[in-house]
Symmetry: C2
Subunit: 237 residues, 2 copies
């Protein structure tokens, strides 16, 4: 078993391993090799062995990984052997879509508190949860012992909402607002940002005759990109 | 100006710099220091100077960056000095939310083709775009010269959809389906995966008396995490 803290980049890959292992289990696999996992995930077997080596007893080469046991181990490490209550803040188009997203509960998360600012949304009911005014965030989050918050408010309101959530005890925030949240070091934040994701891909799209007009900098990028296609691929995750 | 290919991790940060610069510009800034940018973005000034050094003329320390010129440069490098047509595949709850998401067009992307499988969705109109049958993907994408696709279909259908998009000419895919897509090296894929994001944060949430029951592996993680809070923070982006 490897020692030392687990790099966050490895932690981010664990849910993908778990998801893949569950798929393989449904497909009837009892053991799976790092090569098989690598093929499904589009990464190298070496990376999978390296990542799983943090878990000790599962890092052995040559033997297949026992699927069920590795699933249990990952569920334990990721604290997914329970259902987490989640607070959702924001009930506009995006918030409503999140509130009705069917994949949270099967994957360990249950939205048990929803908060909105506009009077038209307050009092509505989503999956049995009554939408409360944003002024109630800190109190309700504390009372329910909620540790996870989802922010789906306009960017200019996101920081204040984050501070209320943290004040109530939230330590993990999924941020859909296109703005950087400033939180204490004990709070983890992940962004869901389709715009930035799209804008970071157009960098690699360069099929315009007018490109040269954008100047030396870009031209040299285009050349470089042509020469090294591997650089055109994002990391698998 | 720095030479060599730009690492994808840097490319992923460029849209965040652009977004922040636009905010600062709206706030009246004409120049901005790497320290000011760093503070807003929650990263180090050194990282910003390092990242921007790929762009040559903007990498100078000591002087503030000229906001308007840096915005233009980043827009050029990211190929955001145009409006990109986008194909959306999938028109269930998620697809409909994406189709009506208001932030795409102001940020350089216009959904000009929508495809669905279920007859109830085909023929519907979203923002003036008629939902077409998925059998039309390759033809329509090619005819419209679309290079960007958004996948919002069930995971088991995502790979086939990706192959149709790529066959039509798509080279950048935003994948909302919780599955790994296998695409040619010239195609860039970014995942939007709130479940994995949440599951990678619960790793850091460890407030249960029952935790020890999950065994040595996890216990030692918990210890390690307690000792090195810095490891609890994901990279800013």
């Amino acid at each position: 078993m490897r020692n030392g803290p687990v790099p966050d980049i490895v932690v981010r890959r664990l849910p993908l391993y778990l998801r893949t292992l569950r798929q393989l289990q449904r497909a009837g696999y009892r053991t799976v090799s790092s090569e098989e996992l690598a093929q499904v995930l589009g990464v190298t077997a070496a990376q999978i062995r390296r990542d799983l080596s943090y878990f000790g007893r599962f890092g052995k080469q040559g033997y297949g990984y026992p699927v069920a046991a590795l699933i249990r181990e990952l569920e334990g490490v990721l604290h997914l052997d329970r259902l987490w209550n989640v607070a959702l803040v924001g009930y506009g188009k995006l918030g409503q879509a999140i509130a009705h997203y069917g994949e949270f509960e099967p994957n360990g998360f249950r939205i048990t508190a929803i908060f909105a600012k506009s009077p038209e949304h307050i009092g509505q009911i989503a999956n049995g949860v009554v939408v409360l005014p944003a002024t109630e965030i800190e109190r309700v989050v504390r009372e329910q012992g909620i540790r996870i918050g989802i922010i789906a408010v306009p960017p200019e309101a996101a920081q204040e909402v984050a501070e209320k959530l943290v004040a109530g005890g939230v330590r993990a925030i999924l941020n859909y607002a296109p703005t950087v949240l400033h939180v204490p070091p004990e709070v983890t934040v992940r962004e869901i940002d389709p715009i930035s994701a799209l804008q970071s891909m157009t960098f690699y799209l360069d099929d315009r005759p007018s490109v040269a007009g954008n100047g030396q900098g870009e031209q040299s990028f285009a050349d470089v990109m042509e020469r090294s296609p591997v650089e055109k691929r994002p990391a698998a995750h």
